[in-house]
């Protein structure tokens, strides 16, 4: 970790993992005046580590054994996992899709899986809060074809390049409606962080 912790010092909270969730929890608690220790096993990555190279970029991906390789249901998971400060969110695809209202009622509506004990409306405001806190680019209005209305995203959608234009055109010709992906990337400067430079090396998503 960046700051060694004095042995025996009392803190209000200890969080294991400095990834997307742990970091947000830690920041929220710290802003509320709590003393927080964030534990992380990997390197304390710096911006200079996020170099423009597909190959060298692999060093920030998980390096240990993919988890759950043993037992009856082995499951490899390293492609989207990270290690070190920032965890998987250090360099990731940054797609920020929301669950749909029907996702919370799979059992009652589709007789599959289980219903959640909460509904979309219970979490909707937190989706909006995270979008504001993290910084999400997108077109919330355009998404209302499949989700309830919410607050606008803090930044407009990312650019659509030639590849995307082809998809938009083809889908329009077949009556398929598309909306720009909502992503945790800066289409404009936001909270002191510059706009995305559309680095062609962004193999596994943007550097956060």
């Amino acid at each position: 970790m960046a700051t060694p912790v004095k042995s025996g010092e009392k803190v209000d909270a200890v969080i294991a993992g400095a990834g997307a969730s742990g970091s947000v929890f830690a920041a929220t608690l710290a802003k509320a005046g709590k003393k927080v220790v964030l534990l992380e096993t990997g390197p304390d990555w710096q911006l200079s580590d996020l170099i423009s190279s597909d190959i060298w970029g692999r060093r920030i991906k998980a390096a240990g054994a993919p988890f759950l390789l043993e037992g009856k249901n082995p499951f490899g998971y390293s492609y989207q996992s990270g290690w070190g400060v920032g965890g998987a969110a250090l360099h990731y695809f940054a797609n920020f899709p929301r669950l749909l209202p029907s996702d919370f009622k799979m059992k009652s509506e589709h007789n599959r899986g289980l219903d959640w004990p909460i509904s979309y409306q219970d979490v909707a405001r937190y989706y909006d809060k995270v979008a504001q806190d993290v910084g999400v680019s997108g077109d919330a209005k355009a998404e209302e074809i499949w989700r309830p209305a919410g607050k606008p995203y803090p930044m407009p959608p990312m650019k659509t390049f030639r590849n995307g234009e082809l998809w938009v055109k083809a889908c329009a010709e077949h009556g398929i409606r598309l909306a720009p992906a909502c992503v945790g990337m800066n289409s404009t400067e936001y909270k002191g962080r510059p706009a995305c430079i559309y680095d062609g090396w962004c193999h596994i998503g943007p550097a956060r």
Binding site: L50, I51, S53, D54, I55, R59, A63, P66, W83, D199
Partner: protein, 184 residues
């Protein structure tokens, strides 16, 4: 030992730390092959198979040093490895996967034509790879052949085209926005 500054400069050029006469030197895999750097973990015949397979998958991979690239990469701690295998759920140590893959290639080649893969004629090597990618090789015993094909093809692309020079060879500007100025 290779110093940090020297290592960082070398990394930008695609150089890795190889061992010659007990000393570590920064070389590209191509240079390591040309200088006959001894392999750390691969046996000579395993390297020969790897070179033949790499050359079949991506022409130029042999001279680009695919065997030296993989040998060096499977010899370093997994957290330092740059292999595509790292993000494809291959379980470390990566040497286990590569040795199993190479063994499977040669066993399948022997079952098919009584020869090791490296000794097959070029057209037979291409047909072998064609079946391998489709998981249709008779006598294959090892990691799924289609997956081995995918991993080794990625390695061959990395070693031939993954460097600044490789991009220049394709006529594509490298256009790095963040070069490895430190810590690499």
């Amino acid at each position: 030992m290779v110093g940090r500054r020297e290592f960082m400069r070398g990394a930008a050029l695609g150089a890795l730390a190889f061992t010659i006469g007990g000393a570590q030197v920064l070389l590209t895999p191509r240079e390591a092959r040309a200088r006959g750097v001894p392999f750390r973990l691969l046996r000579a015949r395993e390297a020969e198979t790897l070179e033949a397979m790499g050359e079949t998958l991506v022409p130029g991979a042999r001279d680009a040093g695919i065997a030296h690239f993989i040998d060096q990469q499977i010899s370093v701690p997994p957290e330092e490895a740059l292999l595509e295998a790292r993000i494809l759920n291959v379980r470390p140590p990566y040497a286990d996967f590569y040795k199993a893959a190479i063994g499977a290639i040669d066993k399948a080649a022997a079952a098919q034509s009584d020869q090791r893969f490296a000794w097959l004629p070029a057209d037979a090597q291409r047909e072998f790879v064609n079946l391998m990618r489709q998981n249709k090789l008779p006598g294959w015993q090892g990691p799924p052949s289609g997956f081995v094909y995918f991993v080794l093809r990625s390695d061959a692309v990395d070693v031939v085209y993954g460097t600044v020079e490789g991009y220049e060879a394709l006529g594509i500007p490298y256009q790095a926005h963040i070069m490895p100025l430190k810590r690499w």
